[in-house]
Amino acid sequence: MAGFNKVVNSYAEAMAGLTDDMTIIAGGFGLCGIPEGLIAQIKQMGVKGLTVVSNNCGVDGFGLGLLLEDKQIKKMVSSYVGENALFEQQLLNGELEVELTPQGTLAEKMRAGGAGIPAFYTATGYGTPVGEGKEVREFNGRPYILEESITGDFAIVKAWKADKYGNCVYRHTAQNFNPMAATAGKITVVEVEEIVEPGELAPSEIHTPGIYVNRVIKGTFEKRIERKVTRS
């Protein structure tokens, strides 16, 4: 009866099956709510040619920025990048490709990927470079563009707490893209601060039902802050 016990005890197990040229969907917004240990594991595995779908690409030496150091990323699908020098350099060298996607469209593409919706229409990006080459269609007199969904071979997710069934809750704004990422991976791996007993999470308060989750690992987190601002 181990079928629903998704807890794994090593990062090697957590990311087993990841190979070159795969697509990874990653939760996180800036450095907030990122699966630090899973990223470190991907770095250690040395897989190359990755397509990474994530709102941002970390900073120099932290977050997804780590995967740039050994040129593991072939392509980023993001809404905002270039917060680090290595990124800019690889982009200008042509070693890295970027597909800029509006933030809301990116979130919706992940959700649609997980929800079996292959494409949807949105007004976002119509008439801009984002809309170029995409089908335009009017509904109620307003033009919209067609956007296709995104799925990944792996999804890497950072949650606050999970039980062994993979039910997850997120803490504060570390939620961000994580719930959508969790739905859109063929294999979804969640790194958490705490593993709790089934039943500890109230059923109606679970953000990510365990059905989306394949593996859960307990991590430790540095939680680096990108822009510390205080009230003074």
Binding site: C32, P102, G104, Y170, N176, K223, R227, V229
Partner: protein
Amino acid sequence: MALTREQIAMRVAKEFKDGDYVNLGIGIPTLAANYVPDDIEVMLQSENGLLGMGPYPTEEQIDADMINAGKETVTAATGASIFNSAESFAMIRGGHVDFTVLGAFEVDVTGSIASWMIPGKLVKGMGGAMDLVAGAKNIIVTMTHADKYGNSKLLEACTLPLTGVNCITRIITDLAVLEVKDNAFHLKERAPDVTIDEIKQKTAGKLVVEGDIAEMQF
């Protein structure tokens, strides 16, 4: 006298009505939160997933899991809600946010806006700006009327890659408040001691000046 950043922000804040949900972009727009009149309440939406953004934290309150869309540490106000990015942009795209205030490089007489990309410079991305201009009911653009070389940012047609088309209806610059309609900028208010001639001179797109143009009140 051209307005300071703070004065632009003060004038922006006068646009808000009691009960408005407002998304403020980085820079001058964010400053507007400091000048919301005492007799009204607005609720700030931060597109990373927070409705009811509070002030910056004290040193003790700092929490890496609580940031705003500018990736700054922040707090949640009483009555806030926190949700995922798809939900956040459902709110925005679905037209539930009353006001978006954001900066721009250029705006034109059709209400199109360019704010995210200067060809030849490194492109960092549009973040949530395209969703915001496509979704908000009212958008206010705040910017200087002209760039540092004196070139107007209010054009007949934007020259830079667009963020959105036909979506801007109101502009608050360091010189004036303008409405965008019928393929023209309509001058509504001028900054204290700024002449209509100066505004005309710094507005490249068609400018309509009708009736008395009052000085801005703060």
